[in-house]
Amino acid sequence: MARYIVSRVGQALLVLWAAFTISFVLLQAMPGDAVLIKFQNPEYGLSAEQIADIRAAYDADGSVLPQYVHTIGNFVTGDFGYSLQAGVAVSAQLAANLPSTIRLAGLAFAAAAVLAVIIAVLSNLSGFGRLRSFIQSLPSLFVSIPTFWLGIMLIQIFSFRFRLVPVINPGEWEGLILPVLTIAVPISAPMAQILLRNIDEVLTRPFVSVARAKGASHAFVLWQHVAKNAFLPVLTVAGVLFGELLAGAVITETVFGLNGIGSLTEQAVNFQDVAVLQAIVVISAAAFVAINLAVDLLYPVLDPRLKTKLGAVS
């Protein structure tokens, strides 16, 4: 077991290092000069020597390999460099913006889970005939809707048409209702799909027939016997869902004008602020790797059947 954990952690670190390297190659080693783009702007009125000084401060002229070693050393100690646009440390920017995004994403994740369960339960309760096929087609509709458009339509319908939720100067929690819903809808789709498929699969197992034969009602079987077996596999896509959540946050924060990692990302792209984007890319890759690692290690604990064949868990 200990060996398994060590090798999994080692693999995770390797993926993380490779993610850093890819983002470094994409963002910093390639030609293109964000320092020049920003400071050549005549508004700043800088002389050639001053620009050269700034470039030296940002180490923009150094050769690639020492820069790489330097940057990776800094990243390990939590120093992500300086934002060109804001002129402050990227780590400070991240620390300032992370809490609001985590709150948004966490609420959205919870809402998505609730939505997915509602879809799964409704389509599995008897007496829904035609409605059942409609409910089962909801997830494929949900993934076909552009997130940003969904956000705008929600504003249009709930804020401007029915005036239910204010968008101009909303309360702290009131302002989160529509953004959370916007992210939750596309995230709930894959969850619901997996739930629906697993429920169908588990319902064919012998122990379900046994429970039925003993006289259990459909709802009882679903809740007592099927639910646990159907929920666990959702964990396997937790890492991917996290990526979707982050993408949803980028779009939603832009649409609703919220502060957070998403709007930080958008600004970083607008101003070619490479250091900020690289930090965000590496941190999200780290989160993805960490989530997958946690799921891998937790899965045998949650599903004792897997303990005997640990090597098969991937």
């Binding site: 390797l14 993926v15 490779a18 993610a19 890819i22 994409l26 963002l27 390639m30 293109g32 997830p139 509709l141 993934v143 076909s144 809707i145 552009p146 997130t147 940003f148 458009w149 705008i152 339509m153 504003i155 249009q156 401007f160 596309p186 789709a189 894959p190 799909q193 997996i194 629906l196 498929r197 169908d200 699969e201 396997t236 896509v237 890492g239 991917v240 996290f242 990526g243 979707e244 982050l246 993408a247 980028v250 779009i251 832009t254 649409v255 990302t265 958008e266 970083a268 792209v269 607008n270 070619q272 490479v274 984007l277 965000i280 890319v281 999200s284 890759a285 993805f288 790797v289 997958n292």
Partner: protein
Amino acid sequence: MTILEAGERHRNIDSPNPLDWISAAPAAEVATRAPAKARSYTLPIQPGLIFAYFILAIALLWAVAPGLFTSYDPVQGLPGQQLKAPSALHFLGTDALGRDLYTRLVYGAVHSLTGALAAVVIGLFAGTALGVIAGSIGGWVDEIIMRVVDVLLSIPALLLSLSIIILLGFGTVNAAIAVGFTSIASFARLVRSEVVSVRRSEYVEAAFGSGGTFFKVLWRHVLPNSLTSVIAFTALQVGSAILQLSTLGFLGYGAPPPTPEWGLLIAEGRNYIATAWWLTAAPGIVAVLVVLSVNRVSQAIGKAQR
């Protein structure tokens, strides 16, 4: 091949794209719920599928010959016709510059669709090349390529495409490249798994045994047989590429105004949500319909292959 195997083959749950997981669903349904239905020999008429083909045909015609569908100009506005609600004259209304929204949607199809196609072609070719190399050579080459694929999958697709956008700059072509780049990893993974399973089959062994060279067997036997399940996946990717491109367009990283790209249309209409609802509603509905249709068709392709 048994039905169950077919289901397994199409599961691609670890792909970054939720659409891939959905393509897995019908396979499981066939395997678990309705084995009797799958045996029926007459093809039932599927109104949903016909409708999907119909929508796609119209979207393609919009892209190929927009002039047939509208007589207005997509870029030049009409004086005195600003922000008109949908009517007989402009049946999806007009925007702030007096341009007919329906006309802009029709002319925008070519940008949204060719962009998505270009992106998918990039992903398909690069991904297939990587997958075939990894799957056929094996050994450390396979190991390295698949590790890189793992890493690419660990970065959220949107962030990956934004990194490419920062690198290349804004624009229609660059947005398409960025979106295409994000799908390389999923294509490579799928193709590799197919190649690995095809390589183990008897006819490939027989081809080698009767004196075929490595490349000839690869080209004649392994590649064509590996690509069948890739077709449905490719169709699926077109839908997600349309979505991703419209997102980049909405954020302002795609085609510059006054290009009538669908995402950009929604972004422009956003300033008038309180007064002119049709400016955001119509382009979004068109995009959703097209993406739904693409997904429906790809689902049908996937089913037909089994």
